[in-house]
């Protein structure tokens, strides 16, 4: 009995040794390599395809040395019917140029047909979502834009100085890429207009906006955004803006096609001005078409 017991222990010991030696020999060179490398923190990239979700800014900026050219249109309301080809006869346009001074800071100019408005803007990536040992859960970008109304001064409002033409919007853009497909944005906005028509009209407005995208393919996503006013609207009863669209990417172009109840393409307009009613069909078909040009190549090249 005793010899049997001890021999069975020997078998167990032998088996254990065998398993250990197999596993240490079976540890491939790749495993040894992996153990020798310290994990690094990497920023999460491409939270959104373009610098805008539909109307509102996303967390993205053009890369360093990249010129980002956007042509955007918003046609007339769908409810205008067959005579105006459901709005297609009636386009508003915005042309914009943005340039990435660094990978985290961009400046831009734009011109809108609506109120012949010029824009000067700047956008900075303050914090970046990242993965790895020092992971960070979200990105924060900042966007500031000054808008200049270019219409001829009306005699009705005299004196009308240059400063009366100006309005400003500042936004913090908080985003998180939950996975490869799903990204969300939370965008608090502050709108200020220098000129009001009557004393007592509000100069300032605060809003909170939400947006997101869901990728259905590597180059195709569905996007949506909504802006909720936290302070009274400039005009009583004005509706907030709600937009739904798609991103289609082909090489250096991104096509964004959308339906929105806001016709203006600059921030003060789509945030603060009354939007159309989705229920009544006062919505606009539109697109943003962007093209990038790498003017200055990566410094490592």
């Amino acid at each position: 009995m005793r010899t049997q017991e001890s021999s069975s222990w020997q078998v167990v010991l032998l088996l254990t040794l065998l398993v250990c030696s197999v596993s240490s020999r079976g540890q491939g060179l790749l495993d040894i390599l992996n153990e020798s490398v310290e994990p690094v923190t990497v920023p999460v990239s491409a939270t959104f395809k373009d610098t805008r979700i539909v109307n509102v800014q996303s967390s993205e900026t053009p890369g360093s040395g990249v010129l980002h050219f956007v042509i955007a249109h918003r046609f007339g309301t769908l409810s205008s019917g067959a005579y105006d080809l459901w709005g297609l006869d009636n386009a508003q346009m915005r042309m914009g140029l943005d340039y990435g001074l660094t990978d985290r800071f961009a400046i831009g100019v734009a011109r809108n047909t609506y109120q012949k408005t010029y824009e000067v803007n700047a956008k900075a990536r303050v914090l970046r979502q990242s993965k790895g040992p020092k992971a960070f859960p979200f990105s924060l970008s900042w966007y500031s834009v000054m808008m200049v109304n270019g219409l001829k001064a009306s005699q009705e409002y005299s004196p009308y100085y240059f400063t009366h033409r100006l309005s400003y919007v500042h936004q913090a853009i908080l985003t998180r890429k939950f996975n490869e497909r799903l990204s969300f944005a939370l965008v608090p906005s502050f709108v200020h207009r220098n000129f009001v028509k009557a004393t007592g009209d509000k100069h300032d407005m605060f809003l909170i906006g939400g947006g997101g995208r869901y990728k259905l393919g590597p180059r195709f996503s569905i996007n949506a955004e909504y802006h909720h006013r936290l302070t009274p609207a400039f005009a009583p009863g004005a509706l907030p803006s709600l937009s739904i669209g798609v991103d289609i990417e082909t090489g250096g172009h991104v096509f964004q096609l959308h339906m929105t109840n806001a016709r203006g393409m600059f921030e003060r307009s789509f945030l603060a001005e009354p939007a159309g009613s989705w229920v009544n069909g006062d919505i606009y078909f539109g697109f943003n078409l962007s093209r990038v040009f790498q003017l200055k190549t990566n410094s490592e090249w």
Partner: protein, 167 residues
């Protein structure tokens, strides 16, 4: 184990360069931090890269490489693990030898058995290894849409250089 370790050579700053050429577009990328290990007892080795380490001339190329083609979040690494064919101690005589290696190339989640050409040289402080091989995108399920076939070659030339020092 200590005897085996004594014959183990490693490096953490190998370079990989790849090149795609079509009539319309030249695309190049480099990576400075390939890791490699070789066992000088039997000539077995493994090389590994992190796909997000590749840098491109244009920012958008890099984004598309990671997001649309290589899908770096899903498949963060590529590796080659194999054996130098006809390994012998005479390869360590200080001259440059042209050799072949056989093994498994793993990229975009797809394994391919490959035999590749390369050269190696024993220097005072380690081994200098270089190799060059083509990668067929189709073999690794890397999808190029129709309109992009004018811009991205179906075969990518990969160039690898690394110095491995004794551990």
């Amino acid at each position: 184990m200590s005897v085996m370790n004594a014959q183990r050579y490693m490096g953490h700053s190998g370079t990989v360069h790849f090149h795609s050429q079509t009539l319309m577009e030249d695309i190049e990328a480099t990576l400075p931090d390939m890791t490699g290990i070789m066992d000088a007892v039997d000539g077995s080795f493994a090389f590994q890269v992190k796909m997000r380490s590749f840098s491109f001339e244009k920012a958008l190329m890099q984004e598309h490489f990671n997001e649309d083609y290589i899908e770096s979040d899903q498949f963060p690494k590529a590796s080659f693990q194999g054996q130098i064919i006809g390994w012998s101690e005479s390869l360590g005589d200080g001259e440059t030898h042209v050799v072949q290696a056989e093994g498994v190339f793993w990229c975009h989640g797809v394994e391919q058995r490959r035999t590749i050409d390369g050269s190696l040289k024993k220097a005072d402080d380690g081994w200098e290894i270089s190799c060059r091989f083509p990668v067929e995108l189709e073999e690794h399920d890397i999808d190029v849409p129709g309109w992009a076939t004018y811009l991205i070659s179906s075969t990518i030339d990969v160039d690898v250089q690394i110095k491995l020092t004794q551990q």
